[in-house]
Symmetry: C2
Subunit: 350 residues, 2 copies
């Protein structure tokens, strides 16, 4: 220890205190303060207390971002989360599960909404990268051409949700969409239905395609030609779904059961059934659970996803990657679950 005085004295203004303020007050060097703040070893108990006391007195708060500049691995202790929309309940659940897992490690989450806008997607990812996030979780709905992650960020820890990564080496966490849809089909078949309609989301959405595939395959296994299955697709909101359902139900040879591939489509279908007074006659199984599904008339049978489990698994993978896991990327499947509530157990008219 050559001298006790630093090169210059900070103004010690009433502004937000820095490490130097704490150091001068405690009468130690700035690096020592750093050590105490980061709970590094090699500080005597006496100095530690001195520093802590000074820090408490000044109400000092370590500047995480400034530290990230020099910190090993340049960790910023923040991750970016790209969701269809933060206001969508499914996304909210995932967001929450992720937050819980990451906050335990002191990692904060930037969340942003995509809204199926590829332009927006570009700029959000850029914004995340510009903030030097330690990892990325991507939950896009639509198939957007290229996930243009710049070359130099290719090894950024990344986890995709509900979508297989293309062109990037990354883990993915998905629901067993095809299997879930097959379960729905099997359930309706088991209740005696043979005329089961499929109401589906936009075909450029990978999960929607998977669900359709699983559904049709199961129907096929029952010996029903898929050409005889009424299919209405590219329904992306309640209203278009409602119209499609009405059209189908008032047609010459209406289905006795309906499988709807997504929340909003289910809602539209429920509306149509109620309007036509057929809600107790035509069976319905929807993909995705929703609040109050059991309070409907009848309760709505669904294939429930588990956003919380998806979130937990995602967090686990992301943290593993951040911690240096070099295993080849994998896709993790979170099983869906059939929940019987009445609408799916309606039998066809004899």
């Amino acid at each position: 220890m050559t001298t006790m005085s630093n090169r210059y004295q900070p103004p010690l203004s009433p502004n937000r205190p820095t490490m130097r303020h704490v150091a001068t007050l405690a009468g130690v060097g700035i690096k020592t303060v750093s050590r105490v703040m980061n709970e590094e070893a090699g500080v005597s108990e006496a100095t530690r207390t001195k520093v802590l006391e000074a820090s408490r007195q000044l109400n000092y708060q370590l500047d995480v971002t400034a530290g990230s500049l020099r910190r090993a691995g340049r960790r910023t202790l923040s991750v970016g989360l790209l969701l269809p929309s933060v206001s969508n309940p499914f996304s909210g659940e995932i967001n929450r599960a992720l937050e819980d897992a990451l906050s335990a490690r002191g990692i904060a989450v930037f969340a942003a909404s995509l809204d199926d806008d590829p332009q927006r997607e570009q700029s959000i990812i850029a914004a995340f990268l510009g903030r030097r996030v330690d990892g990325l979780v991507l939950t896009p709905i639509a198939k957007n051409q290229s996930y243009t992650i710049p070359e130099h960020s290719r090894d950024l820890p990344m986890v995709f949700i509900d979508r297989e990564p293309v062109g990037v080496d990354a883990d993915a966490v998905v629901t067993d969409n095809a299997i879930g849809a097959a379960k729905a089909a099997a359930h309706l078949l088991a209740h005696g239905h043979t005329k089961i309609a499929y109401l589906g989301d936009r075909t450029d959405i990978q999960t929607a395609r998977e669900r359709k595939r699983g559904f049709l395959e199961e129907i096929g296994r029952a010996g029903i030609p898929s050409s005889s299955v009424p299919i209405r697709e590219n329904l992306h909101d309640e209203e278009t779904a409602r119209q499609a359902a009405i059209e189908l139900l008032t047609s010459e040879n209406p289905p006795t059961a309906i499988f709807s591939s997504q929340n909003l489509v289910t809602f539209g279908t429920m509306r149509a059934l109620k309007e036509l007074g057929k809600n107790r006659e035509v069976a319905l199984v929807g993909f995705d659970d929703f609040t109050l599904a059991d309070m409907m008339d009848p309760g709505v049978t669904v294939i429930a996803q588990h956003p919380d489990r998806i979130g937990v698994r995602t967090a686990e993978r992301l943290l593993a990657r951040i911690d240096g896991d070099q295993e080849p990327p994998r896709t993790y499947v979170v099983p869906s679950e059939l929940i019987q509530r009445g609408s799916g157990e309606i039998r066809p008219p004899a």
Copy 2:
């Protein structure tokens, strides 16, 4: 311009490029690159193009956090948002509206969930401050003793939602809770009810208290002694609400109408009514709108809040403060709205 060479040449590694990389490639000084990136004036068109080209070639991405260290006002272009829970639909709407308004200005949002845990609140706020956010939006539910914002952060732009700030000078954006609840009471009174029960949330929640007050005042104005009003409080989830409602409805002198002060309480009440087969006899008005309210039997009449408008107004205030608005803090009221759907229009038995 003394020399053209910088003190040292960067390794020009395949890693993430910095400004210096761009500068060397473009053959200009690093400050010039900074100017171009920040669209500062005083750069000739020729140099601008050169720099932009080099930046494009290297896929350079400005490091926002590093810049914040030196930038005037130390802007980090990020804000912290504290919500009851990111998975709660009401919070989600607010989050979304805020994001839309702030992302237009290049500001990213850290969202975190509080879960009524004062401990957690402390650490989240500390985490936000440690990341040097440019502003704070706080949406706590429960009354938590002290909003301990350290002295030196007192002038940090801050907006409270649904809660008057105490001990801090800050704007607030709130729903007209008392007025909304009064509207509910008036509506039920107008339909001939005199025995109207109040089912309420935890009494330590300010908005819950306001709603109760507004409700009782309106009842009082109708000449009904508030002592004769059945009141059940501190219901914080569906199950306790359901039990309270059942108790009330099976009592000797059951109410002919119910006002429930919050979403989950409304759900519990709906369940109770359905179980007792009274859903078409007993009137119900709930505070807070919810998905599929119109699909219930009967449709549920509600006092709807407007989380989107709350979010927009909040963003507006926060940005104004960030931009230096020094007006004395105000509380902004976003009006609620009565939506008739059937359950609130049931008349008492003759």
